[in-house]
């Protein structure tokens, strides 16, 4: 019996102690008409050897590609130490640190994480993570609405990740919160004040500002932040944490800084893994801390006055407050945060700066090379971080298919999310791409585009 240690003798002795004649008897309170018949779609058990081979074969079949896809999930180098430590049994198989004295490892790590994330985003406090970037944005919207007493409107530019907007809508819909889409400038790829103004006539709880936005373009965050604050609304920053090694952090946007910063933590040491598990981060100004969902760790002392760490502000949470909780969330993405904390510690500020700078430089280099191909040009004039939208001289899906046959995943077809963007491709470079990689991409694309010349 896989993972079940009982010997026949054990079972006999245990049943004797219970006073039951069989294991089946222990289920005698279940009405017999409810008992399950045979499971028909669960295959017979496999040995570890058999499943290992199957999984290895499937992984082999999926293979490796030279990928230039970004769009919210980014391929960065992850130091080997990160996951060798993260998967140690003491982190991997431990429970939520409710018993603080038996969980100081996880608790201290989370406190360190909170410190790092607050500093990276330039905010005062951080929670211990949320599910992912998209749900973190939705939680931020709920938080802003709780804080803002009069409005349930959230302004969200169309330059925010399209799936994030879908998730946001799905989650807030049932709480009568209105998500208002803000258009953007088709030349620069940014939201300009002129796009905001029409929506500022009416009260709104928050403005979401993406940085960089979905097109990789940098928004004019200072002006946007000040505009929203002037309207007595909150600013929710939706940021790529890796970009913050290079860019002004949300806490310093405009005169007062954003109120809440959220985003996808995946770039900080989490493998792409077909989309998860990742983690959402959330930081905010101090006065919002009691509105923040999710777990929060605090430093305190023990009976001997020695410093230690505990889960704190639990009065916000569902297991205490039940229907009055700030959110129904009762987990964080602890193991992912473990990895991210080790990742940030291994890279340090200078390492993170280098990753960001190299990712950015590679994007500029690749864009330059690709723009030399006939018919290829940048869609937007705004400055970019490490992604760029390009117009191609032919149908994107067809071109991507041709690139894939050369082992290259060329990027994301933007038309999937923006019907108006015909033949537009979103291309990403991180520090993992070498000059050879960029050359390979531009050469291959050059060859393929001959057909459309």
């Amino acid at each position: 019996m896989p993972f079940i240690p009982h010997t026949e003798e054990d079972v006999k002795e245990m049943l004797a102690s219970i006073g039951a004649s069989s294991i089946e008897e222990l289920f005698d309170e279940i009405p017999s008409d409810l008992k399950t018949g045979a499971l028909t779609r669960v295959p017979p058990g496999m040995s570890e050897m058999e499943i290992s081979r199957l999984m290895l074969e499937r992984a082999q079949a999926d293979g490796f590609y030279l990928s230039f896809i970004g769009a919210g999930a980014y391929e960065h180098h992850i130091p080997a130490a990160v996951w060798q430590i993260t998967t140690r049994g003491e982190f991997y198989s431990s429970y939520t640190p409710y018993q603080a004295e038996a969980s100081q490892g996880t608790l201290q790590l989370l406190y360190e994480y909170q410190t790092m994330m607050a500093s990276l985003t330039g905010m005062d406090v951080s929670n211990a993570s949320l599910y992912d970037g998209a749900t973190a944005l939705a939680e931020a919207a709920l938080m802003a609405v709780r804080q803002h007493k009069t409005s349930r409107r959230i302004l969200v530019p169309r330059t925010v990740h399209p799936v994030y907007r879908k998730v946001l809508s799905a989650i807030v819909r049932n709480q009568d919160i209105e998500v208002v889409e803000i258009p953007f400038c088709p030349e620069s790829g940014q939201v300009l004040l002129e796009h905001l103004e029409p929506f500022g006539q009416e009260d709104f709880a928050a403005l979401v500002i993406p940085q960089p936005n979905f097109f990789g373009v940098l928004e004019q965050v200072d002006a946007m932040t000040d505009w929203a604050h002037a309207k007595h609304s909150s600013v929710i920053a939706a940021v790529n944490p890796m970009s913050l090694a290079m860019l002004v952090p949300p806490g310093e946007w405009g005169a007062q800084g954003a109120d809440i910063a959220v985003g996808e933590g995946q770039p900080l040491g989490i493998p792409l893994s077909s989309g998860g598990p990742y983690f959402g981060f959330m930081t905010c100004k101090h006065d919002l801390v009691r509105q923040m969902p999710g777990r929060i760790i605090g430093r305190t002392v023990d009976l001997d006055n020695k410093p230690g760490f505990v889960l704190t502000l639990q009065a916000r949470e569902q297991h205490i407050r039940r229907s009055k909780a700030t959110s129904n969330i009762c987990t964080n993405q602890g193991l992912m945060v473990t990895a991210a904390t080790i990742y940030m510690s291994l890279l340090g500020p200078e390492g993170l700066r280098q990753v960001a700078a190299q990712s950015h430089a590679n994007m500029l280099q690749l864009a330059e090379q690709l723009e030399q191909l006939p018919g290829v040009k940048r869609v937007y004039s705004g400055p970019c971080f490490h992604e760029v939208a390009l117009t191609l001289p032919g149908p994107v899906n067809e071109i991507l298919q041709a690139l894939k046959e050369q082992g290259i995943l060329g990027g994301l077809n933007l038309q999937e999310h923006y019907p108006e963007l015909e033949n537009a491709l979103l291309v990403c470079t991180t520090e993992t791409k070498t000059a050879d990689d960029l050359n390979k991409y531009s050469e291959m694309l050059g060859k393929i585009l001959k057909k459309y010349g």
């Binding site: 002795e13 309170e29 896809i69 998967t87 603080a100 913050l244 002004v248 430093r299």
Partner: protein, 481 residues
């Protein structure tokens, strides 16, 4: 010592640094960061040493017995970790074309099918990233169902008072009013209360079965009838599915929607508090509302189902498709167990719980529902002990830490005073249960003979009891240099 205290300005971990300098840069000056980042400047060894040492300060399944009721802390097979972390799986971008991920998608599809079978549901979506999100999605589907029928008067969700706190919190997040109903003294939902609560305003009932009191709701079929007759739907909180896996299918009990905590029943790691994964399953009538993406298998090819395929979907609830790596671990686990293993999970989990309940009862502990079978968990109450000695459930819990056992769940469910909710899980041996019983007996003696010592436990942990009140009052949430 914090990692920041290992930091020195100018210390560099060069093997993680680029060997070339990024030469191009084109970002307006006003957008460039000027303020420092409070990240440690430490050597690779110091980082490895720091976090290795930190890890040793944790209890974990790999080192201790963890009889945490309602959490199903069972062994997390190492093969699940190894196989989900095969390099190709880790490297795969979520937006990579489907034909570059047929191996991965095959695993997801098969997991959907297996979960449909064990839950008795018509459809499954793997998207939810945690139990609470599974609940949220489940209740959203209930709401979508009523709305699609133009049935707008249904504003209430009924929840038993023994339910997990997530149930009412979730209902509220979905815009519902929560109606709590009482539990009878045998641990069942009070049927009269249910009948009184049900009406045309009822959107649904959320139920955990076996309940958080560790007993099977015998009247579940009748409850189903009552709620359905009133036009409401039945939500199955899968937190305790481990207790009946392969024995009873929630679909057969009449439930319309279920979430399955893979980090409980399907043994994906708890990871110090996540990530979890909680696929949702639905009966026929809720199929149109399942969240996307899901995986379809057509003509030998696996592909994503999107909004185009499921036009009435409640939508997307994560940026991609949820916690794929967790799902892979669960997939490996179910394949290792196979069809027979499904049954064994509930059988041996139940055997362990009933045995431990019997032994603790013999040892002198008061069982909350002594006339009932334990499901995979049961409740000990220290009400009497507290009245006589002042020793609380939390004191006993802390004293257990000293003896090398993680504490059971304390003060939940809240309707049982001074309770310990104990769930041994099927992967623990009789010897471990016997040793735990022996430790509990020792504490019983200590409570009589060394009352103050027990009250001030723990004594043998790296730290003594921590001051929660100070933590909440004098908030210290980030380190300052």
């Amino acid at each position: 010592m914090l990692i920041f205290e290992h930091s020195r300005p100018g210390r560099r971990n060069r093997s993680q640094f680029s060997t070339t300098t990024a030469e191009k840069k084109n970002i307006p000056q006003n957008l460039l960061r000027k303020s420092p980042m409070l990240l440690p400047e430490a050597s690779e060894m110091d980082v490895v040493r720091h976090y290795t040492r930190l890890s040793q300060k944790n209890f974990s399944i790999d080192t201790e017995f963890y009889p945490l009721g309602s959490c199903t802390m069972k062994y997390n097979p190492r093969a699940c970790n190894a196989l989900a972390m095969l390099p190709q799986f880790l490297a795969r971008h979520p937006l990579a074309p489907e034909d570059t991920g047929q191996g991965f998608l095959a695993c997801m599809y098969e997991l959907q099918e297996i979960l449909k079978d064990v839950t008795g549901m018509a459809g499954v979506s793997l998207t939810p990233m945690a139990g609470a999100q599974g609940e949220l999605i489940g209740v959203m589907m209930i709401r979508a169902y009523h709305e699609a029928r133009g049935d707008k008067k249904r504003t209430e969700i009924i929840v038993p008072d023994a339910a997990h706190g997530t149930n009412p919190a979730t209902a509220v997040m979905c815009g519902y009013k929560v109606v709590e109903i009482a539990t009878d003294k045998e641990g069942n939902v009070d049927m009269a209360a249910l009948k009184a609560a049900v009406g045309p305003q009822t959107a649904g009932l959320m139920l955990t079965n076996p309940s958080t009191l560790g007993v099977f709701e015998k009247n579940v079929s009748e409850m189903s009838r009552i709620v359905h007759d009133a036009g409401g739907l039945l939500y199955y909180d899968g937190a305790n599915l481990n207790a009946v896996l392969g024995k009873v299918k929630p679909g057969d009990m009449g439930f319309d929607v279920i979430h399955i905590n893979l980090h409980k029943t399907f043994s994906t790691p708890h990871g110090g508090g996540g990530p979890g994964a909680a696929p949702v399953g639905v009966a026929e009538r809720l199929l149109p509302y399942l969240p996307v993406p899901m995986v379809a298998h057509e003509k030998g090819v696996y592909r994503w189902l999107t909004e185009k395929d499921v036009p009435h979907t409640i939508g997307r609830l994560s940026a991609h498709m949820g916690n794929a790596g967790v799902l892979l671990r669960a997939y490996v686990y179910v394949r290792l167990l196979g069809v027979k293993g499904m049954n064994r999970v509930s059988e041996y989990a139940t055997l362990n719980a009933n045995y431990l309940m019997a032994e603790l009862s013999k040892a002198g502990f008061e069982i909350a529902f002594p006339t009932r079978r334990a499901s995979h968990e049961f409740i000990v109450t220290l009400k009497d002990i507290k009245e006589k000695t002042g020793v609380t459930a939390m004191n006993l819990a802390k004293r257990l830490l000293d003896k090398g056992y993680h504490a059971p769940t304390t003060y939940f469910p809240i309707l049982i005073p001074e309770c310990l909710l104990i769930e041994p899980a099927e992967t623990e041996s009789k010897e471990t249960l016997d040793a735990f019983t022996a430790a509990m007996k020792e504490i019983l003696v200590e409570i009589q003979e060394q009352t103050e010592m027990v009250k001030s436990a723990p004594h043998d942990m790296p730290l003594r009891k921590l001051d929660d009140v100070r933590a909440a009052r004098e908030l210290d949430l980030t380190w300052k240099p």
